[in-house]
Symmetry: D2
Subunit: 337 residues, 4 copies
C-alpha cells in the first residue's frame, strides 16, 4: 500500500520535504505540488518527478489520489490550509509552528477533530536519534525524575527582516524557542506553568527596526515544580548550535553536536575543528524520520506522535514568553492559554 | 622579602589555605593560626609547622610579625574579623563571600579604607587558567563585545543542613551563585541591572525543612543590555560541574571540564570516562594563584585584583536573586543595593 | 542526460549500491541487476523498481541501455566480470579490492585499457567528508610535507569463516588493511617501499582453523622516506573504529569518529556515550559520493578519481604485508609488485 | 619519621625533584645537593632551603643524615653514582633510563643487590592517574587479556644536538621510547619478544649530522603472542603528545590528553583549544607521586614499585629496536638481552 501525498508550499522547506518524500520515505507517492507561485510549483514538480502542480492549493485538495498533505506554507496560512485540507478529508502533516496564535491553533485542532483526519506537527527534533535516545533514557529512569531543563538554540546569522516581523515569525522567542518549548514538555513530562524572559537587540540593529531582538534567555517553571532555562540567539557566528540538557536526581543527559566534520587540525595554533553550519546538516535525517512516522500513523491508524495539542502548548509557551519580554514580568501560562 | 601571614579559621578551607601557604607560595611565612576551637588550631599548626596557635584570633592580630591575615572563618564572622584585622593594620585576604549582607560588606569595606590596608576577596575562579584565558580572549576582542553570559554551577550532593540555613549560607542561590555572579560582572564587563529566579526543593526534602532549595535558574539583565542565565543545583550526582559560556557577535567562549582522569574505557556498553569529583580537584591550583596574587599586590603596593567592591556587587546580585525567588518577580539591583 | 546502470552482484554490498543508485544519485537509471542466484536478483529488482534481472551477468552486459556496470560480486570474480564488461564496452565501477592478486589486477587494468572504458574502484573513504577535508588541508600545506602515517582499522566482530580464508578475503591484513593502504598512498603522496607485519590469532581461535589471524600491526616505509603504521583488529567489541592520522613538520591531522549518537549520559558511574556500530553508519554517505563521482567522470569524460593502478598499488601493499607476516621479515614492495 | 634525602644532579630534572621534595612530599628532608658544577648546587640549595651543597657527589654520600639519594645526573653517569651510593648504603631513586646499555643496567642492579639497598627507577607514568586507572581496569578484567598495545610519544621540538648523539641519549628510539617500552611491559603483563623499527631524519636535518633521526615506528611482538606498535617523533609542533591504547577481547582503554586549558574558543574559523605544551604540564604530579611511592617503600621496607629489572627490560627493548633500525630487520630480544 502506498499513500498519495500532496505538497502544499514549494519554498525552502517544501523542497526539503519534496526531496525526503521522493527519495527517503517508502510507501508514499508524491502526486501533486502546489505553491502560490505556480512557476515554483512547476519547477519543483519537474525536479522531483511530480506529475501535477498547481498555483492554487485547493485544486490539489480536490484530487482523489491525494490522501494526505504536507504543508510547508508560511506559518500565517497554516490554519486556513489545514481547515481546507481537513474539510477535504486529507490527513495533514504541517511544518511547525502550527500557528503563531492560540486562536489559530484552536481552529486548526477543531477542524481536524471535526473531520476525523490525522494531523501531525513538524517538531522533527523528537525524531532525531540523540533526542530519541535521551527520551528513552529518561523513560528507563536512568536520571530519575527530571528536575531541570536547559536548552541552547542559536542560529549563525540574522534572518530576513520581513520574516523577522512579529506577525510573520512571532519574533525571536517564538521563532527559535518553539522547538525548545516542545522539547521541554516532551522530555520533562510536565507542562510549563510560568515563564520569564529577558532579551535585547544587541548585535543586529536592523532587527530592532522591525521590532525584533537577537538574544534572549527564558526561565521556565514547570507545573510539577521543575525549573528550566532556554537561551536563543541569532549571532552564533561559529555555527548552528543546538544543545539540550536534562538534569535529574540520578544523573543528567546532554544532547548536542559541536563538531561537524570528524577531522581535527593540529598546528602551532592549537587544535581546531569545524562546526555544524546549518540546520539541515544537523537535522536532515530527522525530517525524513518524522515523515516516516506520519506515514506509519496513517497506515496503522494510530494517533500522531506530535499532536495539535502538543503544538498548541508550544505556541502557548512562546506567546507567554514573548509577553514576559514585553511587560518585563513573569507570565503564567494560564494568562494566555 | 617575605610576608608574615596569620591564618584565621582552621576548618576545611583554612586547611586548604594552610597547605597552599606552606607549600605553594613563595615569599610568605605562615607564622600563626587561630581557630575558635583552639585544639584544631593546635593540630593545624603542628601539621603545617606553624609556630604559634590561638583560640582567640585577636591574640594573633597582636603579633607584629603578622603582616597579613587570611580569613577562612564562617561567613557570618567575616565582617567582625576584617574590622579587627584592619584596625590592627593587617592586610586582609578573606574567603568569599565577603558577607551575606550588603551592610556587612559595607562595614568591611569602610574599615579597610579607613585603615588604609589592602583587602582581597577569594573569588579564585578569576585565577583559574581556563578563566584567565577566556578573559584574555575577550579583552583581545576575539568574540567582540559580549552579549550573553551563561553559567552552570552544580554540586554533587546535599550540604550540611545547619549550613544550608539562610543565615549561614545565604541559601542555594547566594551560596552557589556567588562565584557565577562575580564571573558575570568580570567577564561581561558590565554590572547587573535586574535578576529573576525560579527554584525549588525538588530532590532533597530535608533542605526544605530548613528553608532552602536545591535547584534554581536565574535570569540576568545587564546594565549594558546584555542578558544571561545561571543554573545552580545540589544534585549533580555525576560530579562537580562548573561551566561558563560567553557569547559575543564574533564568537563564543566555553569554559568547563567534564572529564577528570584522561582515560577512556571502551566496552560493549560504549565509551565511559569519569568526572571531576570535588571542587579541590577542579580549582586547587587557583587557590594557590589567588594567594600568590594577593602577596604580589602587597609586595608591589598595588590594588588587589578582586576588591571589596567586587565582592559587594556579587553579594548584591545574590541578595536580589534570592528576593526574586521569594517574591516571584524580577528584582532590580537598585532595590537592594 | 542519464546513464543506464547495470548492477552485477545483489548481495549485501549490491543492495547498498542499489539503494544508493535508486535514491541518492541523480543522472542514473538502474536498468538491470544480475546475481548468480537469480531469485536474489529478482527480489532486489522488485525492491528497488528495477525492470530487468538475470541469473547470468552476461545477459545484462548484452543490453544496449546498460552503459555502465557496478560490480559487487565476490572479489575472486572481479577480474572475470571486468574483462567481460570491458569487452562489452561498459564503463566499470567495482567494489574494492580490485583483486587479491596482482595478476588479477593487471588483467583487469589491461582489459579496461584495451577497451577504452573507464574503471573506478570503490575506495569510498576518499569521498568521506573528514578524509576529503584532511586531503585538502594537506594540499594547502597546513601540516607541511607529511612524514608519518597512522591508521587504526578495527571491526567489532569475527567474520564468516568461509570468507576469512586467504583465498576469499586475502586474510586479515589484506581484507581490513586495503582501505588504509589506499589512504596511505593518497594522503602521504608517496608510494610504499617496504612493509613489516606482526600479527596473531589471539581472540577468535576459529579464525586460526582457517589460517587467519585477528590482530596485526604493519610498519610502513615510504619511498620518500616517511614512515607509517597501521593496526587492524577483529575484536573492537566497543564498535567500528576507524581512525587515521597524518603528521607533518607543521602539524597533524586526525580523522576519526568515536561517538555515534550525540547524547552524553551522566550518572554516578561517569559520563558515557555510544560508538559507531557498523561501517554503513560511518561511511554510508561516502558510498553515494563515490558513485556520484564515477557518474561525473563518465559525463565529463575525465579520468576516474580512483584508478585501477591505485587499486593495484593497494593490493600490492597487502600482498607484501601478508608475506611479511608469513616470513617474519620486512618485505620490499619490489619483491611482489 | 622523616627520611634524609641527598639530591645528586641539580640540572633541569634535579630542580624538578628538588621542588617536589621540598614542597610536595611529606616525611622527607632534603639535606644536601651535589652537582659537578658546584655553583649550580649552591644556587639550588639556596633556592630550596637545603643546608649542604657539594661539587663532588661522593662528599654528599659520606653524610650520615643522607639515607637515600635521588639521582638526576646525565644517564651516562648513572651506573657510577648508583654503585657509589649503594656502597655507601643509601637507598636510591634514579631518573630513567637506568642506563643506555645492558651492561650498565646489570652493574647497577648487582651493586644494589649486593648492598641490600632499595632502588627505584623514574618511570613516572606508572604513577600518573590516567595510567593508574588504566592499569586497575586491566587488572579488574574490564577489557579482558590485552592483545594489542599502541603508543604515541611525540615531542614538540628538536633536542639539543649534543644530547641527541647516540652516546648521550641513545638516539630517538631509546630516548623517547623508553617510557612506552616500560608501559608496554607493565600494561600488557608480558615481555617483548621481537621488535622491528622504521625511522628517518625527515624534519630536522641537523639531527642527521649527529647520527640521530626524528621520526620512527616500532612494531612489537610480545612473548604471549600479543602485538603492539609505538610511534615517536620530535616534530609534534602542536604540543607534547603522549597517548597510549590497550585493546583486549572485551574492550579497550585510551589514555591521553589533547586539550590543556579547559577553554574552547568558537569563531567563524571553527572551534579551537590549546594543547599540552611540555612534559611538566602533563606529568608534574606524577613526579611527586613516584617520589612519595619511593619514600613509602623505604618506610614500609617493601620492594620498589619500579625495579632495576624493569628498567633493564625497557632498555633492552630500546637497544633491540635501535639495532632493528640500523640493520633493517626484526630483532629478537634474546639477541641483545
Amino acid at each position: 500500500m502506498s499513500i498519495g501525498i500532496g505538497l502544499v508550499g514549494a519554498g525552502r522547506m517544501g523542497q526539503v520535504f519534496a526531496h525526503t518524500l521522493a527519495y527517503s520515505v517508502a510507501e508514499v507517492r508524491l502526486v501533486a505540488v502546489a505553491d502560490i507561485q505556480e512557476e515554483i510549483a512547476r519547477q519543483v514538480a519537474s525536479r522531483f518527478g511530480i506529475q501535477n502542480f498547481y498555483g492554487d492549493y485547493r485544486r490539489l485538495l480536490e484530487r482523489k489520489d491525494v490522501e494526505a498533505v504536507v504543508i510547508t506554507t508560511p506559518t500565517g496560512t497554516h490554519t486556513e490550509v489545514i481547515r481546507a485540507a481537513a474539510a477535504a478529508g486529507k490527513h495533514i502533516f504541517t511544518e511547525k509552528p502550527l500557528s503563531l496564535t492560540l486562536k489559530g491553533c484552536d481552529e486548526a485542532i477543531q477542524a481536524v477533530e471535526k473531520a476525523g483526519v490525522k494531523m501531525q506537527v513538524g517538531f522533527m527534533r523528537r525524531f532525531d536519534p540523540p533526542y530519541v535516545l535521551a527520551k528513552r533514557k529518561i523513560e528507563e529512569g536512568v536520571i530519575g525524575k527530571p528536575v531541570m531543563f536547559k536548552a541552547v538554540g542559536r542560529d549563525p546569522g540574522c534572518p530576513n527582516l520581513e520574516f523577522a516581523k512579529r506577525e510573520n515569525s512571532g519574533g525571536l522567542i517564538q521563532d527559535m524557542g518553539v522547538h525548545d518549548f516542545d522539547l521541554a514538555r516532551w522530555l520533562m513530562g510536565s507542562e510549563v506553568e510560568r515563564v520569564h524572559s529577558e532579551g535585547g537587540c544587541l548585535v543586529f540593529p536592523q532587527l530592532g527596526t522591525v521590532g525584533d531582538i537577537d538574544n534572549a534567555v527564558i526561565n521556565l517553571k514547570f507545573t510539577n515544580g521543575a525549573v528550566g532555562n532556554i537561551d536563543v540567539s541569532r549571532n552564533a557566528v561559529y555555527g548552528y548550535d543546538i544543545r539540550t540538557e536534562v538534569l535529574g536526581p540520578e544523573g543528567a543527559l546532554m544532547i548536542g553536536v559541536l563538531q561537524h566534520t570528524a577531522t581535527l587540525i593540529l598546528t602551532r595554533s592549537g587544535v581546531t575543528h569545524d562546526t555544524v553550519p546549518h540546520f539541515m546538516q544537523r537535522f536532515g535525517e530527522a525530517y525524513a524520520e518524522e515523515i516516516r512516522d506520519f506515514v506509519d500513523c496513517i497506515l496503522k491508524d494510530r494517533p500522531p506522535s506530535v499532536s495539535g495539542e502538543d503544538a498548541r502548548a508550544a505556541t502557548a509557551i512562546g506567546v507567554a514568553a514573548t509577553l514576559s519580554l514585553d511587560e518585563q514580568r513573569p507570565v503564567l501560562l494560564h494568562e494566555v492559554a
